[in-house]
Amino acid sequence: MKSFRYTITDKTGIHARPAGLLVKEARKYKSRIRIKSGEKSVEATGLMAVMSLGIACGQTIEILVEGEDEQMAVAGMEQFFKRNL
């Protein structure tokens, strides 16, 4: 299991479009990827789940990755967040 934290810098937070991109990215990997925000954690591969977190700008979330390709998945997800959010 690997994890990293990220603070959202995008002004509009994770709304529909970024959530769609995020899900698409997360589905590339075999690992189980979860997003933790406060008390709640959801699968990053579910659009509705990700959107239901209602993550806003300035909020810090934790991304948890577990599985055979976790090394790659963590790197990929980290890059994705930096580039898009």
């Binding site: 509009t12 479009r17 189980r32 959801v42 699968e43 659009l47 509705m48 239901s52 209602g54």
Partner: protein, 708 residues
Amino acid sequence: MKDKMFGVLQRVGRSFMLPIAILPVAGLLLGIGSSFTNEATLEMYGLTGILGEGTFLRALLLIMNAVGSVIFDNLPILFAVGVAIGMAKKEKEVAALSAVIAYFVMNIAINAMLKLNGEILDTGEIAGHVLEGTIASSCGILTLQMGVFGGVIVGLGVAALHNRFYKIQLPNALSFFGGTRFVPIISTIVYMFVGILMYFVWPQVQNGISALGGLVTGSGYVGTLIFGLIKRALIPFGLHHVFYMPFWHTAVGGTMEVAGQMVQGGQNIFFAQLADAANVAHFSSDATRFFSGEFIFMIFGLPGAALAMYHCAKPEKKKAAGGLLLSAALACMATGITEPIEFSFLFVAPILFVVQVILAGSAYMVAHMLDIAVGLTFSGGFIDLLLFGILQGNEKTSWMLIVPVGIIYFFLYYFIFRYLILKLDLKTPGREDEDVELKLYTKADVQARKDANGNEGRKKDVVSAAIVQGLGGKENISDVDCCATRLRCTVKDKSLVDDKVLRGTGASGVLHKGNGVQIIYGPNVTVIKSDLEEYMEQGESAPRSEEKNMATQGTVISSPITGIAQKLSGVPDEAFAEGMMGDGVFVLPQKETVYAPEDGMVEFVFDTKHAIGFVTDSGVSLLIHVGIDTVKLQGKGFEVFVKTGERVKKGTPLMRINLEYLEKHAPSVATPIVCTQLEEKQQVILRKEGLIEAGQPLFEIAEKERKI
């Protein structure tokens, strides 16, 4: 504390189910075996030719008889193992092995103590001064007669040791003996001392038990009535097994000498007499009073109640209610499983349950008074009546009296139920107010069958998924088990349990006690349980349950808003148009209210109010995204009426939008409605391009190959 007690008792009760489940089969073998080797029966039916002395069939029947007997003779060790398995949390097979060891160890320790103190002579015989029946042979060991209690003491104790030690880590040099291997070892040591202790304690307990047994036996018919009332009243709590077991299988239910052996417990006495039927003039109704009355209300009484409920159902619901009640009545009459009928009125009309307890309790007493002595293995259905009553002959059992008494009970149940239902307007099946589903299971069932693939797996998935959801998700479930008719679960947080969802899975009732949840299904619960376990195991690696797409081909989604419907590819937003958020359509709104497209649940309302996640009861996850780039409006122009997690009916207003404001401040008011969780092979097909009213069919989910 009280809740914890209940949880433990509940576990004990259900752990009895495994050994109890073997009794019907053992009883069947014993019943058939002894019926057709009984000289009197053979002569009466003229069967001496084919079943008489020296025939092949007679040999087979005698073997069946012996096989059935051996199970009743060895119930203590069966309970020891069964209870240990039931109570162990994990690695149950180790607990089972340990229970067998502990059972031998305890009994041989008692045997050694008896020898040391001269109660068993060096010749292996029991000393003359020992009270008759207090020492008996169990699995070839002469030991104190502890009956099924002995087995339960072993089962509970070993399970406790097991749960405490099965993960123990020992120092390196001893590590081979760590973990589960430690359980048989510690069980051996502990039960050696338990055996020694029992040598001193058990004679006192024996005195207590025989006093209690004497009290029940001595109080005669009143004692029988009290037994009956308590047993029936315990059914809703699922604790009746704990209650009646001592009466059936230990000295609490009386002791009697049969064929030279001291036999303890009502059911044990009956079966001992059955095995020795040739020498018994009439079976003892003092022994069978703990169950003979069940035939009266199970075959006759409760079906009368079912008929009353059917006649009281609303005309338009008679058919549905009739199906439900008929199947419940048949199960009750044939096998004596009463929960389906009892739970059909227990929750909606507790007063009827009070009636049931009183009538049924009195039936035990009436049977006792009339000297009816029909045995049973598990419950009082027709199968048992046939084997242990009719086939044994009226001279030995007085079974014929059950019929007239039963008919009286049928009318008693029928008229009392009918009167109370109509007088108090009780909401028994078929009398519910309009919006209550009669039996939601059929709904889920039909949907599952609609599935074009028609595979069994999907259907199970739907039920199991709904159960998991109703119990607050997989993480919230700490334990799942079942008894004859109910799924018994322990949850971590009881506030997450949703009774409505659980009822929708076909349950006839849901009970709570502390963190224990009992969901009553009926005899098919074992299947539901194993499906659920399988489902939960699979879920380990698969994505979370609620993320699973449950939408089926042909599911139609209606429009949440009035406007112009178009294909998604035309929406003025690249991400949506490419289908990145999922396949769907979009509507250019012309009116300002967004309604729930179908019955379902609001999965989330986005902070800025412009998007709503919605999951329909048919399992489709929908994202309703009002306008393009409307996230930037920070909630202005939207007024939302619902909250996250709220269940709504089709047509419930979800939000109002200010069209004028949106048209001015957003790039477009186009409102994509997309399915976020479709499978690879599924796609969305727009039903009607152009003007559409809210509530009209908007699109349908279809297979990709099927081009329209």
